[in-house]
Amino acid sequence: MTQLKDGSGAAEAAQAADLLVTVATTLNERLAVTAEELARSQALLREASDELMTAFRGAADRIVAAQRDTPPDDAPRTAEYGVVLDHLYRAVQHLQSHDLVNQLIDAQKLRVDKMREKLGEALSLADPPVSDPRAAEQWIERSRAMLDCIVAGIRQIDEDGRAPRADKQRAGSVDLF
């Protein structure tokens, strides 16, 4: 805690500034943990998705090739391929969800990273300390600059328009114009 000897309001301003630094530091540490957990979750999901995609690709390529090589009048085979295709079509829907979740995590990671960057910028304003610790306006100015930086970070994370929208009710809906 910054110690000041005068009673001009600088002590209170310094305390408020220190509190802001403490809050920003703590928040940044929590966000670092969140970023790490998001990255770990995404790595696990990617690994699972990659494995599923490899299996899916193998089956999909074979069924498309088999269909191509089968004469159209071979009804039993065509029917059998139809059953396999139905299963693969179901997989298509779930693999899309994996992909969308991956994109969602990407968007959240980006938001967390942007916020951490802004918090880092805000914290860098606290170092070096104010030139005259007895001047309350210097502490206030520094706190204001830090808050501006944090608010800019909050605004910035909401401006990212590339995050996939998750609208379960409308998923799969079709509008023909």
Binding site: L85, Q96, H98, R162, R165, D167, G172, S173, V174
Partner: protein, 120 residues
């Protein structure tokens, strides 16, 4: 054989769309964003374009507008396949010249039904 251009920045999504369409006998060419999609469309004669909306370099609506300026794509059906589902976005799609709007994740049978319908 009808040729369909699938534009999406997600390789998985392109692969899913391509598989469903190829299994129904269509030829599919792919592009990873709007700019690349526009290039491919100009170089190949496509019977249908299916595009995502949110992509780097050029988004889906810009691609639709750009394609509609090309003589060969004045009447070619263009479908938006996207996670975007707001009525405002759909209205923008319609105004840009899109033929239809499908919300992800798509149902393969529905996609095929729509494709058959717009290609008729």
């Amino acid at each position: 054989m009808k040729t369909i251009l699938a534009v999406d920045d997600s390789a998985t999504m392109r692969e899913m769309v391509a598989f469903v369409l190829e299994s129904a006998g269509y030829r599919v060419i792919e592009a990873e964003d709007g700019a690349h999609g526009l290039e491919r469309a100009a170089a190949t004669s496509c019977d249908l374009v299916i595009t995502d909306q949110n992509m780097p370099n050029m988004d889906g609506l810009t691609l639709v507008r750009s394609l509609r300026e090309l003589r060969d794509y004045k009447t070619v059906p263009i479908l938006l396949l996207t996670t975007e589902s707001s009525d405002t976005m759909k209205a923008q799609g319609r105004a840009a010249g899109a033929t239809g709007w499908l919300v992800k994740p798509f149902d393969p049978a529905t996609l095929l039904e729509v494709v058959q319908k717009v290609l008729r």
